[in-house]
């Protein structure tokens, strides 16, 4: 065996190199404060290893980047662990960089003859930050897409070459396939290769000059192996444990259920609960108001809020960060003087404190509406003004929406049909649950709410039309027929069909010298006929039964699964059938509903909406398309615009697809995964 080793050694000299590497003298003895450089090399090794394996499963294009990342995270065994390691080690690396820089500057290890090594270290720092920035975009999710968009937009501020530079980095005028291929080439090829080259130089020069001893004590001198190696290895283990802890954080600190329940959920579906986040697929036409850079760039994000206008922005985004880097590069020169060294240390402390302050402020700006932070209001920049609270509320809502949408995207791609070649974004664009809500917010929520209660769902400010939450259910219809509820903001209270609206119309008619509107209002009819005040128990029961029957009959017309009266042990199927039949009789009664509404061939159109097929898909499509049609409100229509009146879809406010998404959303009809 010894002969074999000698044979290899004669031909490679590898043993000599190992000896040279391990038996580096550590003057003054091994110390914990020397571990940071080694932990960074370890972190980079982890990134190179995990990155290479991610590479084997990742596909950089706008149709496949999110999809392949999803597949790694949710479908491949231990994909969540691989992504988690890569994601959180990147963040840890930034922290380690700061610690290493701090240790080097405080110990004066940047002074002659180690200037070049310090400069190489600063270049390495820039490369690591560039790796972090390019890596953030690669999953092509909403968060990475919109946040990185801000970073590349900043490039346009670079004097003279800004625009072409931005175009080259992005691979065109807009984000697309070539943005990903370029970012990926940088992230997995150019930057790591450059990093390795500079790292080799960094370590070679470090070896040339040896470690910068904190304190010279020849009696304690030792070799790198094993004393310092042991400390380095323990520190690397600690780093790894921190990263593993971060991967498991959602289960440890989550809010859903107990720890045991979260553990059980993570065991059943680890990709959904452990590792790095993945928001919904990038979509340039869908707002993402929760866009923020990764936390270590948050101070720069916050810093930009202080610079108003192009010239100021250039100062904040380019010149000040450039000047800070300039001072860092000058540190070895300044450090020649004692005062200069003190300045360097102070500069670094102020820089990190400033970054910490801005990070805290950014976090507070975003989250103040969700935390009781009155106690820190005395700190400049931490005041809870109305504007800031509103912005924070909007941000918190946006984060919640983003989480919902991310969850929904995973549900959709997990459906049996899987991901189509057009990508997951095509599924989301056709999803009634998310797109219907967006459309409702954009087109309907200026009048209608869709809310189960305060702070829930979508709330109009102020509501001036019925609350459409649970529309078409027996409960919703019973509310409409309830004299105590029909005249509230949840139904007709704030419309022309409510008491106040009728009065306003009568006053306006009187003023104009016209005839006052008749008393055919639904609100007045319900109040007069379904009020139980002063009624006997038998009369009350009769009214309640009638409301129940009409509600059941109309819910049956709507035919929404989960929103119809269904048979239960207490209410057998034949009784449900009888109730619906009774409701239909009332609907056809010309002394009651059919006096104004048409139903099943009885009654006339033009006074009030046709109740045949009430709440059905077709009925809703027609109503939203043109509420003033004869079949619906005709001339009684109260402000509701016609969203798709025209035969040519190009000229309508809602396309046929949008209309269908909205109707399906109102009816609660969307894909639900089976348990």
């Amino acid at each position: 065996m010894r002969g074999l080793f000698r044979w290899i050694e004669d031909r490679t000299g590898i043993g000599g190199l190992m000896h040279e590497a391990l038996y580096e003298r550590v003057p003054g003895g091994a110390r914990w404060r020397y571990v940071w450089g080694s932990t960074l090399v370890f972190a980079f090794a982890v990134q190179a290893i995990t990155g290479t394996f991610l590479w084997m499963a990742y596909s950089p294009s706008s149709q496949t980047a999110w999809e392949s990342t999803y597949y790694i995270q949710h479908q491949m065994q231990f994909g969540w662990l691989l992504r988690g390691l890569h994601h959180y080690m990147a963040q840890t690396m930034v922290v380690l960089l700061a610690l290493h820089l701090f240790q080097v500057v405080i110990d004066g290890a940047y002074k002659a003859p180690r200037e070049f090594n310090f400069w190489l270290g600063l270049i390495l720092m820039q490369i690591v930050l560039a790796l972090a920035l390019t890596g953030y975009l690669l999953p092509w999710d909403q968060r990475g897409y919109w946040s990185t968009g801000v970073a590349t937009s900043l490039m346009s501020l670079v004097p003279i070459v800004g625009e072409p530079l931005q175009k080259l980095v992005v691979g065109g005028g807009e984000y697309g396939h070539h943005t990903l291929t370029r970012f990926f080439a940088l992230h997995a090829g150019v930057l790591p290769a450059t990093l390795v080259a500079f790292l080799v130089l960094h370590v070679a020069i470090f070896r040339k000059h040896g470690i910068h001893p904190k304190k010279l004590d020849p009696a304690k001198d030792c070799y790198f192996w094993p004393d310092q190696v042991l400390r380095d290895a323990v520190a690397c283990l600690a780093v790894l444990l921190v990263v593993l802890f971060c991967i498991a954080m959602p289960v440890i600190f989550g809010h859903d259920g107990t720890f045991e329940e979260r553990m059980a959920a993570a065991r059943a579906n680890p990709g959904a609960h452990l590792g790095a986040h993945l928001t919904a697929p990038a979509d340039p036409s869908n707002a993402f108001s929760a866009a923020r850079p990764e936390w270590y760039f948050l101070f720069l994000f916050q810093f930009l809020k202080f610079f108003h206008g192009e010239d100021a922005e250039r100062i904040g985004a380019l010149y000040i960060p450039g000047a800070v880097m300039g001072v860092l590069f000058l540190m070895p020169i300044l450090g020649r003087w004692k005062l200069g060294h003190r300045f360097n240390v102070l500069f670094l402390v102020v820089l990190l404190a400033g970054a910490g302050y801005l990070t805290a402020q950014a976090w507070h700006d975003d989250n103040m509406a969700g935390v009781e932070s009155q106690k820190v209001e005395f700190i400049p920049g931490f005041a809870r003004t109305k504007d800031k609270l509103d912005a924070s509320k909007a941000y918190i809502t946006a984060v919640r929406d983003a989480e919902d949408e991310a969850h929904r995207a995973v549900e959709l791609v997990g459906a049996p049909a899987g991901i189509p070649p057009q990508g997951a974004v095509a599924l989301l664009r056709k999803d009634a649950k998310t797109q219907g809500a967006r459309l409702f917010r954009a087109k309907c929520a200026s009048c209608h709410s869709a809310s189960a209660g305060p702070d829930q769902g979508i709330i109009a400010d102020p509501p001036s039309a019925p609350n459409l939450h649970d529309f078409g259910s027996p409960e919703w219809i019973a509310g409409l027929l309830d004299p105590k509820r029909i005249d509230t903001a949840d139904y007709f209270g704030n419309t022309a069909h409510g008491t106040a609206g009728i009065k306003a119309r009568a006053d306006a008619a009187k003023k104009a010298g016209e005839d006052a509107p008749g008393d055919e209002s639904m609100t007045l009819w319900v109040k007069e006929n379904y009020s139980t005040d002063g009624k006997s128990a038998a009369e009350k029961k009769e009214i309640e039964d009638e409301i129940r029957a009409v509600s059941a009959a109309l819910a049956a017309e709507a035919g929404i699964e989960g929103r119809m009266l269904v048979a239960t042990p207490d209410l057998p199927a034949d009784k449900v059938k009888a109730l619906v039949a009774k409701g239909q009789e009332v609907l056809k009664d010309e002394g009651k509903c059919a006096g104004c509404h048409k139903f099943g061939g009885v009654g006339d159109l033009g006074i009030a909406p046709d109740l045949t097929g009430y709440g059905s898909k077709r009925w809703l499509l027609e109503l939203i398309s043109n509420p003033a049609a004869e079949r619906h409100y005709a001339d009684q229509n109260d402000r509701m615009p016609a969203f798709a009146k025209d035969a040519d879809p190009k000229n309508n406010q809602l396309s046929p697809q949008e209309l269908e998404l909205l109707v399906n959303w109102l009816r609660g009809e969307w894909y639900r995964p089976t348990e």
Partner: protein, 224 residues
């Protein structure tokens, strides 16, 4: 031991010596080597050296130049001229005599070319259609923030509406003008609105000449 000649009149290397010995050629003995001394490296004329250096550089630069030429490709590509995309009809535009009126947020659907893919009828952006107070002018505002490109949110309340960017606090009035102090270097980007009669029928359509603009700059510069 035998000696292997490296060149007819050049230095020689003892058989069995490793490459590190070659690297150490000169007057100094290699620390691990047998202590062989070599002659000074041969001297050649300037032209000879220059030829060697240039040839070496050229063979390296050829693939690099090919790579850079491809990398610069986006610079020569120009975006097609924007065309008017119908978003709504004129009868959907309300009266703005009492205040700024928001007509709505509209997705712009158009064909999009992304490198090798052509996407037909895809959402490519979004506009807020507004009618500034006291005017009959329909204004189409690009929903992209002119500060750094985030999607501007709509803030609605009983008092009216305004636009707020969820990123760096840019805020804009209902007509798209900046609410000072504002980080944005310019007002929201308005685009040309075209109202024309439909080919069939009397309906008047509102179309937007949709374009994206370079964020961050005071000048409203179309993205090329």
């Amino acid at each position: 031991m035998d000696e292997i000649p490296l060149a007819p009149d050049g230095p020689s290397l003892r058989k069995g010596a490793n490459s590190a010995t070659v690297a150490a050629a000169g007057k100094h003995a290699h620390p691990h080597g047998p202590g062989v001394l070599f002659r000074e490296p041969p001297r050649r004329g300037f032209l000879y050296n220059a030829f060697a250096a240039i040839t070496g550089a050229l063979v390296g630069l050829a693939p690099l130049a090919a790579g850079i030429a491809v990398y610069l490709d986006p610079l020569r590509r120009k975006k097609a001229a924007a065309s008017a995309i119908p978003v709504t009809t004129l009868d959907a535009i309300p009266d703005a005599s009492k205040g700024d009126v928001l007509v709505g947020l509209y997705k712009i659907v158009a064909d999009r070319q992304d490198a090798w893919n052509t996407y037909v009828n895809e959402p490519v952006g979004a506009v807020y259609l507004v009618v500034p107070k006291g005017t009959k002018e329909i204004k189409a505002l690009n929903a992209t923030c002119p500060h750094l490109g985030c999607f501007v949110d709509l803030q609605q309340s009983a008092a009216g509406y305004s636009f707020k960017c969820p990123c760096h606090t840019s805020a804009f009035n209902g007509d798209g003008t900046k609410i000072e102090p504002c980080v944005s270097p310019r007002d929201m980007d308005s685009m040309e609105c075209v109202v024309k009669k439909r080919i069939t029928g009397d309906q008047l359509d509102v179309s937007v000449v949709f374009e994206n603009f370079q964020p961050g700059l005071e000048e409203k510069k179309r993205k090329s």
